[in-house]
Structure formats: structure tokens, C-alpha cells
Symmetry: C2
Subunit: 415 residues, 2 copies
């Protein structure tokens, strides 16, 4: 084998990027599932992290891990005093997930650094690739936790004390898998932040576009609603004498479309009846509502409509309803200059594009609290995500990475 | 201690009856629950059965157990060739149950036999107290299984092969707890059948009555409905592009009151979303529908309305819906002569009463296939059953048992 000749310009090694996406996607695949499951701080997440660290080491990056387990791989610059340009996302997953959500952005960040390495160039300021802990929030609340802690929005001790759906404490699991670092979260504020991600929605595909220039991000409101009625025999209790928690929960969910007007999204993803027996009127029903809107006033209006609906039904049915806010993030407006730079790169590369809103939450929204940030999207086939059918064609994946590399090159004023 | 003097007439020993109800109700009480859990063929059910057998032995009854585990305790008659008058119910329970559902009827049957024993009288035909297996149907389907098999409505081999919600086979569990008898089910057809039970509904209490003369019983239709939609990201999928299985299931449930017109009852007791994650549109939702009506034509009409509703929503939402019938029993009309006899006894004893329909299913409806049958109800406080708050005052419990004894006395033409 002969070493590759050093190039004098920055070129994307697309083959390595696609290969790393595939290899990372093989970690956490279970025998009975199509998808992979690397829920934060499980053994599978550790295996994914270990793989990422091996690739960071192979690139000769300076690797640091902070107290919440965020991983940073930095390519040092000629002038090491400057704040880094950060490229980030996450490698944890939901259950039975696709291979792209999060991983694509982290590995495309490595591809940018690989381009610098292979060109034999030092960047004009450090470039850091970040993989943030527990973006998905499946096991520990809130989601986007690592970037939230990094941006100072959540105290690290509080995060370490988070108790998971399985009763575990986050800090103990983090130590168990060997990723409780000693770096203080947020010790280094990035100069600016870029995140490349699949859209996880149908818009780019529907419009036949290659690149999304993400200029803002929806606000998110997560509530858990608990309805307490009265259990009773299904065969003997007249319909008008019931206090049926299951019927109340179902009625609220069936009316969520009236809550979700003017573009607000409303989803009931979780539902549970108790005692959950075929011939017993449910005593208790618990469900979740996920509301999203890019406009804070509209999001608040949807929250008010939901509260009014819940109160009206509770009153009419003689049940008790409690709502608990699990997550509440205001809409985020990304840095306009950075979005302009992404748009300019897409144009320069001859890629079709549009400016758009992110429907999903991303680590970028947390980092936007402390530094200029923006995102690049590529299309998701059928708009599918959080599902083994999540897919984006190789050409589109490489186009997104080319845009990322081009933006970095121009931000750092390099060839 | 001196032996009690033999009485020449039949008198109810109310104290022993109430005491036995309390003692049987203590079996299966778990530390963290108010109620007791003696689900069919569990260790707790075995403990309840063992207690019942000890009481049957103490009364000197001839005890037999059939192949499906039904327990029969018989007081022999002077003329042993005659078919027995049978008094029956069940001692299995739902999870976290009250102490009366089923047990009251079986123990009141023992109280009738105790009255004969203490009076030193032989009945003019044998009297059998029956405790039927798996009336509740919590673990193994269908419910009322023991009496259904006894009445020839279900093959005993099929019943023994029933697979439980926990994956166990009924026949193995029956043998494990030592209640796989050798009597062929239905070997002895009763002359007639009486069942005393709490109402499990609010009617008698609401009308301030002491005794219900149950002349018929609702038909029951149990279905499991499975909705298959598409999982997708809650934050990126526009409302009009969703195939939300959870929303569809909730919408059907919220419209069950339009299915349940003209007195039909409709209940959704079980519900499950998959993947059941807050930010994922449900791919699949499964729920149950319990429909009841004393009129077969009305019950069928409700089933048709439900099927139409489900088909209409499935079509509009682009989801696939499958319905599986779990249980289907036609309404039962009890023996009018036996109901007249119950009414006459209530009148004779000066107890307020009304003729009524049973909303719940009972073993009596199965035995009605092979012998004249009818039921006696006492009020349920607040109409509550299948719940630790299930309650009937002692006076009412004793009134019901007095009616049962009086009916037996008159059917057997004894003092």
C-alpha cells in the first residue's frame, strides 16, 4: 500500500463517510429488529461511543469528554488561542431507530476534519466535532440534555441526578460506561456552531430539493396528562353514570386536531389505561401531548386551547385531570449570517435549496443560546425518521457533507 | 362445649356466612393493595379453593372435582336418584378485587346446606354447591369458562389447551395447583340452578330496593381492535400527512357513545400504543370494545355500527384496522317459573324487590343452556365492583341468603 498523495485543497472523502455511517449503524442492531437501539448510556451507546473515539483517534484529534459525557474531538489550529468552530450532533438513538438521525452530522464533522488532514492543512481556528449526550431523551428527561447542559441551560448536577424510566440514575450509568469526563461543560464557548442533519420530515423531498437551509426551529411543549376517573363494571354501569378515564383521554386526543390549527403540530405518542382490563371501565388514563410551533405566541395559544379542552371535559365527565409539563423549549431563530453562508455554499455547489424551519428539536437550538448557530438539512425519504425505514440516498448525504465542508472552508477563509 | 340443639326448621346461620366471606376475602390480599387478587389457577386461587374444600368437608359434603377444575359439594338426599338442585357461582377474582363477587354466592350455598345440616333434615333431592373455574377470564379466555364447559358449550380439551396472557397452558396450571379432577364435565345435569350475586351495578341501590329478581341477562360482545398506521416524527410530519394509529383508536373510543344508543353499553377497557414514545406518531394501537345489550337484535345493531365507524375512520385516515371477536354470548332469558319463585320468596320475607336484567355475565347464563336457571341480586354500594371498594351491607347480604334459602325450601317443599 502506498500512502495517498497529500492534496492541497479540501476534498470530501465520501466513501469513508458512507462507510462510517454504515458501521456505526450496525452497533445496537438486535436480532428481532430491523433498526438499531442505542439509547443513551446503555451498553449499546457505549459501544457507539467507543467506535467514535477510535475514529477520532485515527484522525489524531485531541479528544475531551465533559462531566455530562459530551465528546469533543478537536483539530488544533495554527492559532490555538481562538474559539473553535464547532460541528456537532449526537450518536444516541431512540428504540429501533434508523442509522442517520444524529450520527450523520457527527460523522460528516469527522469528514470535514479528514479533508483538512488529507490536504495537510491547518485550519485558521480550531475545529471541534461534538457528540452530545442523550439528545433523544428516551430514557432520561429532558431530551437534548448534553447540549442543554453545555449551554448552561441545565445544571450538571441536576442532569447527573436524572432518574431514568428504568429507575437508574444518569450519573451512575455514565460512570458505569466510562464516559463521566472531568471537563466542565461549556468550558469553551464555540465561535460558531454548525449541525448537518436529515430533515426527518417530508418537505424537501416533496419539493424535490437537495438542501435545507435551516433558519429557525419550532418551539416544543411536552405534557403528560393524567385522568383519574372511577373503575367500574363495564356491563352494569349505565353510560351516563360513568367517570371513564379512558374515554376522557381518548376524547381529548381525538380533538387534538382542533388544538393544532395554524400549522401547530399536536401528537399523542404515549397512552396507558389502568387497570387495562376488557370489562372494567378505566380508573386512570395517562397520555402525552407533544405540541410544536415555530411561533411562541401560537405555541402558547395551543397550550391554552389544550388546557381549556381538558378542563371542559374534566368538568363534564366528573373526572380529575392533572397536566405536568415535561419539556418546554421556546422557538429558536438561528444566526442569519450563518444561514446566509449555508445558502451561499449550496448555490456555489449548484444544489437546489430552500430556507426552512426545523420541526424536530436539535442540539443546535441549545448551542444557539451561547453562539451563532445554524443547520443544514438533507431530505428524508418519505419524511420517515425514528424508524428503521429512515433513509436518505448516498448522493444526498454526500451533497449535505459537501455543503458543510464548503461552509467551514469559507468561514475559515481557506481554499 | 355442648352441641347445638338440632332445630326442626331451616334457619340461616348468618354469622358463619359473614365470617366465611371475610376469611375467604383475606386470601390473595397483597401488601401494596387494598383488594385481593385470586386470578384463576394461580397459587392464590389454589389457596381459596383449599379453604372452600375444608369448609365443604366440615359440612360433610360429598366433594367432586371435574376435569376443568369445577368444584361440587353435594348434600345427599333421601332419594339419591334425583338430579340435584344446584347453587353455584365462582371464587376466582379479577386483579385487586372486592370480597363479594362470586364468593358470596358460593358461600351462601354452603349456608343453605348448613341450615339443612343444623336442622337435621335431608333434602328431598340432592343439593349441590358449585364453584366454577375461571369465571372472570382475566388470564384465560373465554370468561365463565368452567360453567361453559360444564354446559357443553366448550370442549374440555380446548379449554385445557387455552393459553394464558402469561403464556401458560390452562391444563398445566390446573394440574399444578392440584385441581385437575377426573369427573367428566356435565356428567350430572342439575334439576334447576340458582345463583345469588351482588348486582355489580347501581340500580337496586338507586331505587332503594333489597332484592333483584334476575329474569334475563345481557348479551356480551368482546372485540379486540388493532389499528396499523405509520410511525413518524411528531415534530416534522404535517397533521394532514399522518396515519396516526393512536388518533384513530382514540377517535373510535370517543365515538363509542354514539354506538351505545338505546341502552346498549359500550366500554373500551384496554388500550395500547406502539412504540409508545412521546415524540413518535403511533405506528400501532390496540384496544378492546365490550358491548352489552339484553336484546340480541340491538346488540347486533351496535356491532354493525361499530364496524361501520371503524371502516369509515380507517378509510379516511389511510390506516388498516382489524377486529377480532374474543367473546360473543347471546342474551339469556332465565326460567320464568324460577324467577316467580324468587319473587314470591322476597315477598314472603317482606323484602322490597324488582325484576331486572343482569348487566354482567354470570355462570348462571351457561347453566341456563341445560337446566332452568335464575339469579338473585343484592345491591352494590355505589354500583361498584371489580374494585376493592365493592361493598354490600351485612343486612343485605343476609337478606339475599334468606331469599336463597327460602327459594330452596319451597322448591324442595320443605318446612
Amino acid at each position: 500500500m502506498c500512502p495517498r498523495p497529500a492534496s492541497t485543497s479540501l476534498n470530501l472523502d465520501g466513501e469513508t463517510l458512507l462507510c462510517q455511517i454504515r458501521l456505526l449503524g450496525e452497533i445496537g442492531v438486535e436480532p428481532d429488529q430491523d433498526g438499531r437501539t442505542r439509547i443513551a448510556l446503555t451498553d449499546a451507546d457505549k459501544a457507539g461511543r467507543d467506535q467514535l473515539l477510535r475514529w477520532m483517534d485515527a484522525l489524531g484529534l485531541e479528544v475531551k469528554i465533559d462531566r455530562i459525557g459530551n465528546i469533543f474531538g478537536t483539530l488544533r489550529a495554527a492559532d490555538d488561542q481562538q474559539a473553535p468552530l464547532m460541528i456537532g450532533s449526537h450518536i444516541d438513538s431512540v428504540a429501533n431507530a434508523g442509522a442517520l438521525d444524529g450520527c450523520y452530522g457527527v460523522l460528516a464533522g469527522l469528514a470535514v476534519l479528514r479533508a483538512y488532514r488529507e490536504a495537510g492543512l491547518s485550519p485558521s481556528r480550531p475545529i471541534t466535532v461534538a457528540a452530545f449526550t442523550n439528545e433523544e431523551g428516551v430514557r432520561y428527561q429532558p431530551d437534548m440534555m448534553g447540549s442543554l447542559v453545555y449551554a448552561g441551560g441545565l445544571d450538571v448536577e441536576t442532569a447527573l441526578n436524572a432518574v431514568g424510566t428504568d429507575g437508574t440514575r444518569l450519573g451512575e450509568e455514565l460512570a458505569r460506561i466510562g464516559y463521566a469526563g472531568d471537563l466542565e461543560p461549556g468550558a469553551q464557548v464555540p465561535h460558531e456552531y454548525l449541525e448537518l442533519h436529515i430533515e426527518q420530515g417530508p418537505i424537501l423531498e416533496a419539493e424535490g430539493l437537495q438542501i435545507g437551509v435551516v433558519e429557525n426551529l419550532q418551539g416544543i411543549s411536552w405534557q403528560q396528562v393524567t385522568v383519574k376517573g372511577s373503575a367500574n363494571h363495564a356491563g352494569t354501569t349505565p353510560m351516563h353514570l360513568r367517570h371513564d378515564a379512558g374515554w376522557v383521554a381518548s376524547s381529548v386526543i381525538s380533538q387534538l386536531r382542533e388544538i393544532a390549527v395554524d400549522g401547530t403540530l399536536a401528537t399523542a405518542g404515549c397512552m396507558r389505561f389502568e387497570p387495562n382490563l376488557i370489562n372494567v371501565i378505566p380508573r386512570k388514563a395517562t397520555f402525552t401531548v407533544d405540541l410544536r410551533d415555530p411561533d411562541e405566541a401560537r405555541l402558547q395559544a395551543a397550550e391554552r386551547r389544550l388546557a381549556q379542552l381538558v378542563a371542559r371535559i374534566a368538568d363534564a365527565e366528573g373526572v380529575e385531570i392533572q397536566s405536568a409539563q415535561w419539556v418546554r423549549f421556546q422557538p429558536v431563530v438561528f444566526d442569519a449570517g450563518l444561514a446566509d453562508a449555508i445558502e451561499a455554499s449550496a448555490s456555489r455547489l449548484g444544489l437546489s435549496h430552500r430556507r426552512m424551519t426545523s420541526g424536530a428539536g436539535h442540539d443546535a437550538q441549545m448551542i444557539a443560546r451561547i453562539a451563532p448557530a445554524a443547520m443544514i438539512f438533507v431530505p428524508s425519504q418519505d419524511g420517515v425518521s425514528h424508524n428503521p425505514r429512515e433513509h436518505t440516498g448516498d448522493d444526498l448525504l454526500l451533497s449535505g457533507a459537501e455543503v458543510l465542508l464548503d461552509v467551514v472552508r469559507h468561514r475559515l477563509a481557506q481554499p
